[in-house]
C-alpha cells in the first residue's frame, strides 16, 4: 500500500476505503461507456448512431446517460487525484471499484439499453443472440471479479492495524 498511515509526528491522513471504492466504480462505469462509444460506434461501426426503431424514451435515456458519462469521467479523475493528494487512497478498494463499475455498466448497457429500451443492437445484419450472450457474460465476469476484489480488499484492510 502506498498510503499507510503516517508517522505519529506528522498529521495523519486517514485512508478512505469506501470513497476509494466509489471513485473507482465511477471511473469504471464511465470508462466502459466511453469504450463502448469509441470501439463499437467509432472503430467497428457495429452500433448505429441512430436506430430508427428507437422509441423516444430511448433517445432521452441515451442522451442523459451519454452526458452523465462524460461528466462522471471528468469528476472521477479529479476525485481520484484528490484522494491521492490527501493520501486517502486505498488502492485495493479503488481497483475493486473499477471492476464493479466496468461490469455493472456493461451489464446495464447489454440488458437495459440493448434489450429493454432497444436503443441499438450490438451488430446489424446478423443473428444478434450470440453477441448478446457474449456481451452480458463479459459484463457478469467483470462484475464478479469486482465483487471478489472487494471482498479481498476488505479482508486485507481487516488484517491491517487499526487506525487506517
Amino acid at each position: 500500500m502506498s498510503s499507510e498511515p503516517a508517522t505519529p509526528d506528522r498529521t495523519a491522513d486517514r485512508v478512505e476505503p469506501g470513497r476509494s471504492l466509489a471513485v473507482g466504480a465511477l471511473i469504471g462505469a464511465a470508462v466502459m461507456a466511453a469504450v463502448d462509444e469509441i470501439v463499437f460506434h467509432q472503430i467497428l461501426h457495429w452500433h448505429h448512431f441512430y436506430d430508427r426503431s428507437t422509441p423516444g424514451i430511448g433517445l432521452l435515456s441515451d442522451g442523459l446517460l451519454h452526458t452523465a458519462e462524460l461528466i462522471a469521467l471528468v469528476a472521477g479523475f479529479f476525485l481520484f487525484a484528490d484522494l491521492r493528494r490527501r493520501h486517502a487512497l486505498a488502492p485495493a478498494h479503488a481497483r475493486a471499484g473499477l471492476f464493479l463499475g466496468l461490469g455493472a455498466f456493461q451489464l446495464f448497457d447489454g440488458i437495459v439499453d440493448h434489450k429493454l429500451l432497444r436503443l441499438h443492437q450490438i451488430r446489424y445484419g446478423v443473428d444478434v443472440t450470440p453477441y448478446d450472450w457474449a456481451w452480458n457474460i463479459a459484463g457478469l465476469v467483470l462484475l464478479l471479479a469486482g465483487i471478489a476484489l472487494t471482498v479481498r480488499a476488505g479482508r486485507l484492510a481487516g488484517t491491517r492495524p487499526a487506525g487506517s
Binding site: F49, D62, G63, I71, V74, A81
Partner: protein, 290 residues
C-alpha cells in the same frame, strides 16, 4: 423551396457577421491593451488568458464571416458549435469582467459597470438554470419550429436569431464557469446539474436531427447525418471542457481547505502528535467550491 443556405454569413448577405466580427476583434485588441497595462503597473495577469481571449475572438470572427466547409446544414452546425459554445468558452476563461474592473480607474464608468453587474435583474439572468433555458431553449426553438426556415431571406430576423445564439452562449458559459465577480455565487451542485441538463438536451436534439430535419427545411440525408453527429460529438468536447473547469475549481477549493486543516491544530482535540488519534478529521469535502 430548397433551403441551400440558411446563413447570410454563408452566402455573404447581411451585415450581422461582419459587424460582430469587427466588434469582437476590437474587444480582443482592447483586452490585450488592458492586460499589458495591468502587467506594466505590476499586477499579475497570466498570459494564457490573453491567448484564450484572442483565440476566442479569432474563431468567432472567422465563423461569422468565412464560408464554412460541408453542406449547408453542416456549415450551420459548425457555426453553432463555434459561436454558441467554443468561442464563448475561450472568451469567458479569460475573465473579461475581472480585467475590465481592474483596469478601469475609479469613477462613474467603473461604478456604473459594477452597479449593472451587481444589479438584481443581472443576478436573475445569471441563475444557472435560467441561463441554460435561454441557451438550450433557444436552440430547440430554432431547430424544432419553423424559425430556422423563417430566418432565411429575412436579414433582421436572422440577425436577431444569431445575436441570441451568441449572447445566450456567452451567458450560459459565463454562468456555469462563474470565474468573474458577480453578486450571487452559485455552488457546484447548481452549476454541475445545470451542465448535465443542458448537455442532455443538446445531445437529444443532436441525435433527433439525424432522422428529422428542422421543419420547413430540406437538407440532403448526408448533410443532415454529418451535421447531427458533428453537433453530438462537438457538444461532447465543449461539455468535457466545461466539466473540467468545474472540477478544477472544486479541486483547488478542497485543496485550500485541506492545507488549512493540516496547518491549523484540530480545534476539538489534542492537535498534531497527540494521543495517536488522527489530528486531521476529514471535513465533509463538500461540493461548494467557488
Amino acid at each position: 423551396m430548397t433551403l441551400t443556405a440558411v446563413h447570410p454569413g454563408h452566402t455573404g448577405t447581411g451585415l450581422f457577421g461582419p459587424a460582430v466580427a469587427a466588434l469582437v476583434l476590437t474587444a480582443a485588441l482592447a483586452y490585450l491593451a488592458a492586460a499589458t497595462r495591468l502587467r506594466r503597473r505590476g499586477d499579475a495577469w497570466p498570459r494564457h488568458r490573453d491567448a484564450s481571449f484572442t483565440a476566442g475572438a479569432v474563431v468567432l470572427g472567422y465563423a461569422l464571416i468565412a464560408s464554412l466547409p460541408g453542406g449547408p446544414f453542416t456549415a450551420h452546425m459548425v457555426q453553432h458549435l463555434v459561436v454558441a459554445m467554443a468561442a464563448p468558452l475561450l472568451l469567458v476563461l479569460a475573465r473579461p469582467l475581472t480585467l475590465t474592473l481592474r483596469v478601469l480607474p475609479p469613477g462613474p464608468v467603473r461604478r456604473g459597470l459594477l452597479t449593472v453587474a451587481h444589479s438584481r435583474p443581472v443576478a436573475w439572468l445569471l441563475f444557472p438554470p435560467l441561463a441554460a433555458l435561454l441557451d438550450i431553449g433557444g436552440l430547440w426553438l430554432l431547430h424544432r419550429t419553423g424559425l430556422l426556415a423563417a430566418g432565411h431571406g429575412r436579414p433582421l430576423l436572422d440577425a436577431v436569431i444569431r445575436g441570441h445564439v451568441l449572447a445566450a452562449g456567452l451567458l450560459f458559459t459565463f454562468t456555469v464557469c462563474q470565474l468573474d465577480p458577480v453578486r450571487r455565487r452559485w455552488g457546484l451542485a447548481w452549476r454541475g446539474t445545470t451542465l448535465l441538463a443542458a448537455g442532455w438536451a443538446h445531445a437529444v436534439l443532436a441525435k433527433s436531427l439525424y432522422a428529422t430535419p428542422p421543419p420547413g427545411t430540406t437538407f440532403t440525408d448526408g448533410d443532415l447525418h454529418t451535421a447531427s453527429q458533428l453537433m453530438y460529438y462537438g457538444g461532447d468536447l465543449v461539455e468535457i471542457a466545461l466539466a473540467t473547469v468545474l472540477a478544477a475549481q472544486w479541486y483547488a477549493a478542497t485543496g485550500r481547505a485541506y492545507r488549512r486543516d493540516r496547518l491549523l491544530p484540530h480545534p476539538g482535540g489534542a492537535g498534531a502528535g497527540g494521543d495517536g488519534r488522527p489530528g486531521l478529521t476529514p471535513r465533509k469535502w463538500s461540493a461548494s467550491g467557488g
